[in-house]
Symmetry: C2
Subunit: 609 residues, 2 copies
């Protein structure tokens, strides 16, 4: 039995608990209010507590907590209560109820003081008389101190709204513009959507702009995928087909409408009360969404139509929301460093700190950023989608049945799959694992050459040697077999290894160039933020083993999860971050690697394991 | 023979001329450049010269010159050369050629330093390279120093326009917003339209915003007329018919499109190069144009939806022009004092002077303004459309065949018609004439009662007495007969006189109330500006005789022609006037006569002639 002391404001209680009890359950049981939309599954990141005493608990963060906890919080002993098994006496401090109400919100991997660009204001107006014939529109504008700022499109309905509601109405402001006037007090009905528009997947976060709470999240396959898995194929489609741009643009807008329709129905929200959407994504995805041509991004010198923030008209986009609201595309850096990278930089906080930090977002391309509050350099490497499972013989995305963990020892090969399902293929983290372990076991030479079965029989234990076979005339390693319960015989072949070599060399060379350009060494880098789902699941040691991340930074890696989505939500919830995104992007110096004289040298150099 | 000395800059010539020669013809004959789109007909007001010597010529302004010459110019001896018959030795000074180029333009009754809200700028951009990957949009914005100001709707075509034109383009700015980017140097193609949207007639002025020149003018009957001659009937139509508002709104927008289509074709102008439309009109016309409900203007307390300036989207209005341009509705004062009055006040210049002035716009309503630079009061009287010929038995507008001048003496009645055509009816100026002369001749008593034939036979000369007959059981005066060549027998009947009494009483009472409210007497009023076509043709003495205008102001009347149209053009040509219109309107105190305790008293008092 251990004793847990719980403090919240003036309240202090001590409870005896048995070993292994879950802290979140205890708090709930004892009537301490813990906001936890996910119900203690470690997903929402809302059940944060501070461990005041209990040393091993203070430092015992589980991997899936890390994405929810900025460094400062981890150092301060903050943990997600739902991830804490009680194994010692504890003193636990809960945020005060009043603190939670104070519009300071912490959700997932972002910290935001709630202050959205969209605001609402309930006003009771004096009624017009023969002595006060002020027009309806100016009556509202004067009261709000916003002369000339009421949107012409909503003027038509104003007279009836005022008179049907006894001149008591709620005005919605976007920045300093009055975009909506509703009868009565609707100030609490204020919603927004943050969209992370990926090449493969799009994720929508439905946010309550009144509380800052994330109401729901929905992800869908980007329907443009049927026109090409990568951005270049889609770009080609828009060039080769007259209506190609409109086709791709409509697809993704419709998918956002589907997403919204689901949210509206499920949560009983009126489309008129969704006022603002923020969108992040790579530069080509942003262009396709906005209906802007991408053909000049695809070819040197890779020029976007626009890279600054743009506010679009929902009516013209055909998005089903308040028609006078706004769809904000966050700023981009260049043709191949998009708003997703800007958003991830913002979410990482690196642009606000003195510490030099590296941010790596490994997706279809690998975007890399290096810097601190004094300035950031960024580049994009054609890393190839190897770590997303593409171009890998048995590769797949990080979904159910993917091999995500691999252990190789003298007795053979063990693996784990996502969801514990029978293996169907291998995802990015599994690929990193297996290549690192093949190197250690001697199946792979530092040049990237796989040894043959013949060689293996003289150098490897039989349990491993018997797994080396031949595919397309080259050596291959049997990872999983039907006999072992996999859905297929799953191999890693020589070509897969070459893909990994190309990808990791590109990333490593990109990091090298940024370090050189900035005139710093790898030792000056305080932290490495790994953005994207890949970064959350990867084994950092293995990533360092294969040279994906510089050896010296092995211990300084912090996965930040969906940094792009976090940034999009931050901008939606706070005008400081909305403006901050543009400030960050303006402070970024883009390094075009294709034009960089040393990049090819570094690339070749880093090809070796 | 007289001698005319002509000076223009360094040029000085003396010419002998015979008596009666036209000065404009002389100047043209001698090769002095005189810009005169109307060809010397006294319409365009462009052929101004300064008479340095020649006293009777300096002061000999003809009536049709006055509208073109602000007071200061008249005092300085400025005349329209086409209106000068040479009857003495003259020294004449012409504006220097360079002065004419210096964007100072004088057209009709307004003076404007050309500085339109719309501007164009030709720029030659550096081409993007791998070293300079600035996006297309930001490349343009940076060059213009207008970050974030390029309209999202035009972004899509920017890449092709830049590349097809070697990155040499012309940007169009509306205020500080980039609304268009065209290939090559198109800076001279910059057009606008000023619209005076009357209840009965709409006039469009096609303006070259590059030179300030009026290219063309077109007037049309307001097609809403089929739904009612007056604003209240049209308002009722929008209330009683579900789509009534849209119907009336579409009609007038379509008529503007017709007007534009004609202009585009006739002058070879591309719709894309017409960037701005200014619209003035009474408050109900402005609302109907914008598609805003008018039902609350029609009933007490007469509240407009909006009375401030609004900038509308041509695309949403369906107006065929540059879709990212603007349609600006100039500010209004109240439900019955519209943008036309604000524009006329601006055109009169009264809001800029120390002198106290009165402005009277007699149309369907009579709008009256009194004030100076320190502030203006305005009111609207239900003058009734008598002076537009409505509600007058044989009344008609001021068009061909209308009796516009009447002389009554012992020998009978003479009249003149517009265009010298056979008489078809009588227009406003004719009505004022005939009533004034009926009073003088004793056909009308000061109470407004017409004498009977019987009475006439004892008091009037036979030539007049025989013209008194009876219509609907009341006396009537035969103005014109078929025998005399008129198209019809045309009478003034007792009811017509009553209409004139009501109308003039309303105006006179309105003037009285404004004077009282401002605490001034009629003697403090320096000038009376008569706006509208009516004011241009009326006989001022007769207007004073019937009490339409206070007796003391008889000699201080200045007709300013279409003041509303002039103001609309001023705002189109100059951002100072565009802003000035709002300043003027903000400085106007509206007096609601229907709520005014003394108005009814004054109204009854002024009913008598």
């Amino acid at each position: 039995m251990y004793e847990v002391e719980i403090r919240q404001g003036d309240r202090l209680e001590k409870h005896p608990v048995s070993e292994g009890q879950n802290l979140f359950s205890l708090l709930k049981e004892k009537g301490f209010f813990m906001d936890s939309p996910c119900g203690g599954k470690g997903i929402c990141g809302k059940c944060k507590v501070k461990i005041i005493r209990g040393e091993s608990t203070r430092k015992g963060h589980l991997r899936d907590e890390l994405g929810h906890l900025p460094f400062a919080e981890r150092d301060a002993g903050i943990r997600l209560s739902c991830r804490v098994r009680i194994t010692e006496d504890l003193v636990v401090e809960l945020p005060e109820a009043s603190q939670r109400d104070a519009a300071i919100m912490t959700d997932g991997n972002y910290d935001v003081v709630l202050n959205p660009v969209v605001s609402k204001q309930y006003i009771e107006l004096s009624k017009p008389t023969v002595e006060d014939q002020t027009s309806d529109v100016e009556r509202i504008e004067k009261r709000l101190g916003l002369s000339g700022k009421l949107h012409p499109d909503i003027m038509r309905d104003i007279p009836d709204i005022l008179r049907a509601n006894d001149f008591k109405v709620t005005a919605t402001l976007f920045e300093q513009n009055i975009i909506s006037v509703e009868g009565g007090d609707t100030s609490e009905k204020k919603y927004g959507l943050a969209v992370d528009l990926g090449t493969t997947t799009m994720v929508g976060f439905l946010m309550d702009l009144n509380t800052g709470r994330q109401i729901d999240v929905y992800s869908a396959i980007n329907p443009q995928r049927q026109y090409g898995a990568d951005v270049i194929t889609r770009s080609d489609y828009t060039v080769e087909n007259r209506d190609g741009l409109d086709t791709l643009s409509s697809l993704v807008r419709e998918e956002i409408n589907n997403m919204l329709a689901g949210f509206y129905k499920k949560h009983g929200i009126d489309a008129q009360n969704l006022y603002h959407i923020t969108v992040v994504g790579n530069t080509i995805m942003m262009h396709l969404f906005a209906g802007l041509p991408v053909k000049n991004i695809a070819v040197s010198p890779f020029i976007p139509v626009t890279a600054r923030r743009i506010d679009l008209d929902p009516l013209k986009l055909g998005i089903d929301m308040c028609p006078t609201g706004r769809v904000t595309l966050l700023p981009m850096v260049a043709g191949y460093v998009g708003a997703d990278t800007v958003a991830a930089i913002m979410a990482s906080g690196m642009a606000e700190r003195d510490e030099l930090a590296l941010l790596i977002d490994i997706g279809t391309n690998g975007e890399i950023a290096l810097g601190n509050r004094d300035g950031i350099m960024a580049c994009s490497t054609a890393a190839g989608p190897a770590f997303e499972g593409a171009n890998i013989r048995y590769g797949m995305g990080g979904i159910s049945g993917a091999i995500s963990r691999v252990w190789i020892n003298d007795d053979g090969i063990q693996y784990a799959t996502i969801g514990g399902q029978p293996a169907r293929g291998i995802c990015g983290s599994g690929i990193v694992d297996v290549v690192a372990q093949m190197l250690r076991a001697g199946i792979l030479e530092p040049t990237g050459r796989m040894i043959t079965r013949e060689e293996a029989e003289t150098t490897l234990p039989p349990a491993l040697a018997e797994r080396i076979c031949e595919l397309d005339g080259k050596p291959a390693l049997l990872m999983a077999s039907r006999q072992q319960g996999a859905l297929d015989d799953i191999y890693i072949c020589q070509k897969d290894v070459r893909e990994v070599q190309l990808a990791k060399a590109a990333i490593a060379a990109g990091v090298e160039i940024l370090l050189k350009e900035m005139g710093v060494s790898v030792d000056d880098v305080g932290h490495v933020y790994l953005a994207g789902g890949f970064g959350n699941y990867i084994d950092f040691d293995h990533a360092a083993d294969i040279g994906l991340i510089p050896e010296q930074l092995r211990t300084r890696i912090v996965p930040i999860g969906n940094g792009a989505g976090a940034g999009a939500r931050m901008a939606l919830l706070s005008r400081e971050h909305m403006d901050g995104a543009q400030v960050i992007r303006d402070g970024i110096r883009y390094i075009e690697l294709s034009a960089h004289i040393e990049f090819q040298n570094a690339f070749v150099e880093f090809m070796m394991f």
